[in-house]
């Protein structure tokens, strides 16, 4: 009795002391931040009244953001992920730069260009740009970089070599059908003129040139396979250079004074932390240790999105990112070889409810495959071609299911296996969808959770029934979503094989008439969704992020990729 009493007493004391200490800490800090705020706002207000511009730059132009993963490489030829894209975009510049506001390619290292009438030959005129060591950026730097990408003997070979298959003889050189690189469609006419010849007319080629696989590299990389593993051997031509790199911990890029447009670069430094925890990132942001949080470089925990949206309305930002979340069928095996059964499942998913109650990221319900944000013949493809390929309709679905079962000689659908890769978000959606199917159609669904690489392996080998999938754009054209479904396509994990579909895509690939292409794409999309329903679209992704109100000039492109180079910080 006595013992438990003293124990209680002790707990009480600990609690009291804790609260008192806590109270002190809190008060002191609140008081501090209060006075700070007062001190900074007062002079700002007084200067503002006199001057025209109400933007005053902060003295310390250091931007702080987090990357959820460290870029695996800083070699543009080897890069293949979005984190590398985020950082490389600050360090390099290609022939063109994307203007994220207009979605158009603007002059980058190339000052201007001429395009031949057949859309096959591009002649680029390079501006007087310099590498970070003062060397001029020349046409030969592009030829060198592209040769490294396309050379199968590069060690290790470039995983994204196929991004350069647009060039004449690009693929042939990689597969050694053409031995002489001079036959590949890239030539330095003189130091400042680059001539590029394509295999087929490619309306989005200028946009592609702003992508990292097309960046130039400095001549010092020759003979030094490890040049991109140390900041001291990286000579770059972009707005910033890598100045610090602690593996697993942090990165820092600093302004490159040799950059041709340095006058318009206001940031002095960008500090990247490498924290792989959404909760920590959000807390750091709220605590003022980060200036921007969330996608694409970082992460806000899914369940926190609705909360911060209310809590920080002026800092919260939501943007479509031209990606689609869907479930795909293995259509080579029973019962999903039957299109009516596939349709029945697609029609009984309540997309809005899924978005509002489960995904919670303000996504857009999808009834098509090509997401908004992708360019069409004139404006966005999705605006011109509506995604009204099917409707949510339980009654119709029941009818279709019954017909489908009869066609397959079944009385009821055997239990279905739905696989997804390990992730809290995917799991919630899978459970919700399984429940919707059970409610509407009385189907038993077993959800199977698989580790990422195992999942991909199973899916690519058609070792599944229904599997989760997502697709993001590689470039700004419907082609990046539609050419994957051709017979035997590398990313066609459904087993879909339709010669008519293949014909449509082939036709679109050789056509340079934008209106004609759009028509072909619309037909193709209708075929995979409305006619054959090889996949169930759920929603078009959005990215949610938080940006401090004093951070300006950060831009996001159609796919949600971020450009920090023109950002600046206001006094705060």
């Amino acid at each position: 009795m006595k013992k438990s009493k003293s124990l209680l007493l002790m707990i009480a004391i600990v609690l009291v002391i804790g609260t008192v200490l806590a109270g002190c800490g809190g008060n002191k800090n609140n008081a501090n931040s209060g006075t700070n705020a007062a001190a900074t706002t007062a002079p700002e207000g007084s200067t503002n009244t006199g001057t025209t511009g109400d933007e005053k730059l902060a003295a310390d132009q250091t931007l702080r953001v987090n990357l959820t993963a460290e870029p695996p490489t800083f070699n543009p030829a080897q890069a293949q992920d979005s984190q590398a894209n985020t950082v490389l975009k600050t360090m390099y510049e290609g022939l063109t730069r994307m203007n994220d506001e207009t979605g158009q390619a603007e002059p980058g290292i190339a000052e201007k260009w001429d395009i031949s009438a057949d859309g096959l030959v591009y002649t680029f005129h390079l501006r007087d740009a310099q590498w970070s060591n003062g060397d001029p950026v020349e046409a030969a730097d592009f030829v060198r970089a592209w040769k490294i990408v396309l050379d199968p003997n590069t060690d290790p070979t470039a995983p994204y070599a196929y991004q350069l298959y647009y060039l004449k003889n690009g693929e042939e050189y990689y597969t050694k059908k053409v031995a002489d690189f001079n036959e590949v469609g890239v030539k330095a006419v003189d130091a400042k003129t680059l001539e590029v010849t394509l295999k087929a007319p490619t309306p989005y080629f200028l946009g592609l040139l702003s992508f990292y696989t097309y960046y130039p590299v400095h001549k010092s990389v020759e003979g030094n396979a490890k040049w991109a593993t140390s900041k001291d051997t990286m000579i770059t031509n972009g707005a910033f250079t890598l100045t610090e790199w602690t593996t697993g911990q942090s990165l820092q890029v600093s302004k490159n004074d040799k950059y041709w447009d340095a006058a318009n670069i206001k940031l002095a430094k960008i500090d990247f932390s490498l924290v792989n925890s959404g909760a920590t990132e959000l807390l750091s942001y709220k605590n003022g240790e980060l200036d921007r949080a969330g996608a694409p470089h970082g992460e806000i925990p899914q369940e926190q999105v609705p909360i911060v949206q209310k809590e920080l309305p002026n800092e919260f930002q939501r943007k479509g990112i031209a990606s689609t979340y869907y479930y795909e069928f293995n259509i080579t095996e029973k019962p999903f070889n039957n299109v009516k059964i596939r349709k029945a499942l697609a029609m009984t998913v309540n997309r809005q409810s899924l978005i509002d109650n489960v995904a919670q990221g303000g996504q857009l319900p999808a009834f098509g495959y090509v997401p908004p944000g992708i360019a069409g013949a004139d404006g966005e493809y999705r605006t011109a071609v509506k995604d009204d390929y099917f409707k949510e309709d339980t009654e119709e679905a029941k009818k279709l299911l019954a017909e489908g079962l009869a066609e397959e000689g079944l009385t009821a659908l055997p239990p279905v296996e739905l696989s997804y890769n390990t992730s809290e978000g995917h799991k919630k959606i899978a459970l919700a969808v399984a429940d919707m199917w059970k409610q509407a159609l009385g189907i038993t669904v077993n959800t199977v959770n698989q580790e990422w690489a195992v999942f991909i392996d199973n899916r690519q080998n058609l070792n599944y029934q229904i599997a989760r999938a997502g697709w993001t754009a590689d470039y700004n054209d419907p082609m990046t979503f539609l050419d994957m479904w051709v017979t035997g396509g590398g990313n066609n994990d459904t087993g879909y094989a339709n010669p008519e579909y293949d014909k449509l895509i082939q036709e679109a690939k050789t056509s340079s008439d934008l209106a004609k292409r759009q028509e072909l794409f619309a037909k193709a999309e209708k075929m995979i969704i409305q006619d054959d329903m090889i996949l169930i679209p759920f929603y078009y992704y959005t990215n949610n992020s938080l940006t401090k109100e004093y951070l300006k000039g950060v831009t996001l492109d159609f796919s949600g990729a971020i450009d920090f180079t023109r950002a600046y910080l206001l006094e705060h």
Binding site: N66, E70, Q78, P156, A225, K226, T280, N287
Partner: protein, 312 residues
């Protein structure tokens, strides 16, 4: 002479264990589906074939295995398959230095605080201090470290702004992760110390010492503490290895670029050379830690004889 033989013996067993570890990890790793070049956007077959060729993944498994053993024998851990061209030794070096720094401080804190708490609890047995220390100890063991970490972060970094939320740039950044990391060992050490000291305090030789008229301070430092701390030394070996190899959870929550985080990431992307490199590194570390513990034991506890059958 006995010492040399003892060490040679231990060393031999270490090599055997290491060999078993390498072989088992190698084959298990290859048995999991997927490889470093598995990605949602499939690489065209001709490029994938070229990558396999360059990394030797096209060869039969036994061939890859012996080639790897040969490289290891020469002390070459190779280059990462995902972090292109980066040396595995460099990756381990950079990330381990962060884990080591954090770990060493945490060990120091755990031992000092743990032994102190345990001692006080034993000396004031069944008094308030005893109960207080043991409540803390139970909490420390029962509450998982990620809860402790998140709580510390929320309260001391976010609410009271006393420490930064994440990062690893200076002393202020160390406080929270070190606290979170040492909570469990402190609790464990405190309990160990307490029980073994209680035992020692009631031993006959303490009574003898008292009867001889030795001062209490001398008894404490020379007899009680020295004997009471023995179990802690045993625990120190595995604990050291455990802590310095990096806690994935703590490293993730506080944004410390340590080796634990690196290891988990490498497994996720099937970075074969990094997985093997860190496994070998962990293995060696653990074995060395145990080895040192065994040696330390000999010095602290005179009852242990080198020729005796005490094998790790």
């Amino acid at each position: 002479m006995g010492m040399v033989r003892y060490i040679a013996n231990k060393f031999f067993y270490m090599l055997v264990s290491l060999f078993v570890l390498i072989s088992a990890t190698f084959f298990l790793m290859k048995a999991i589906p997927g490889d470093p070049f598995t990605s949602e956007k499939k690489i065209p077959p001709e490029i994938k074939a070229r990558l396999y060729e360059q990394y030797g993944l096209d060869k039969p498994l036994y061939h890859q295995y012996f080639k790897y053993l040969g490289e290891i024998a020469q002390g070459d851990l190779g280059v990462s398959m995902k972090r292109l061209n980066q040396d595995v030794t460099h990756l381990i070096g950079q990330t381990f230095s962060a884990s080591l720094k954090l770990g060493l401080i945490a060990i120091l804190v755990s031992v000092i605080v743990g032994v102190f708490l345990g001692m006080m609890a034993a000396l004031y047995h069944r008094k308030f201090i005893d109960s207080a220390a043991m409540v803390l100890a139970v909490l420390g063991i029962a509450v998982p470290s990620f809860v402790v970490a998140s709580l510390l972060q929320y309260v001391f970094a976010y609410k009271f702004h006393m420490f930064p939320v994440s990062g690893f740039k200076g002393p202020m950044y160390y406080v929270l992760p070190v606290t979170a990391l040492s909570a469990q060992p402190i609790a464990f050490i405190a309990r160990l110390t307490r029980s073994s000291m209680l035992e020692v305090l009631h031993a006959d030789y303490i009574k003898t010492a008292k009867a001889k008229g030795l001062s209490w301070a001398a008894i404490l430092s020379r007899h009680v503490l020295r004997n009471g701390i023995l179990p802690v030394v045993t625990y120190m070996g595995p604990m050291t290895a455990n802590i310095v190899t990096g806690s994935v959870v703590i490293e993730q929550i506080f944004g410390v670029g340590g080796i634990g985080k690196q290891f988990v990431e490498a497994i996720g992307v099937r970075d074969y050379t990094v997985i093997m490199g860190i496994t070998i590194f962990y293995g060696v570390l653990l074995m060395v830690a145990r080895f040192i513990t065994d040696i330390a034991y000999v010095f602290i506890d005179p009852r242990i004889k080198l020729s005796g059958g005490k094998e790790g």
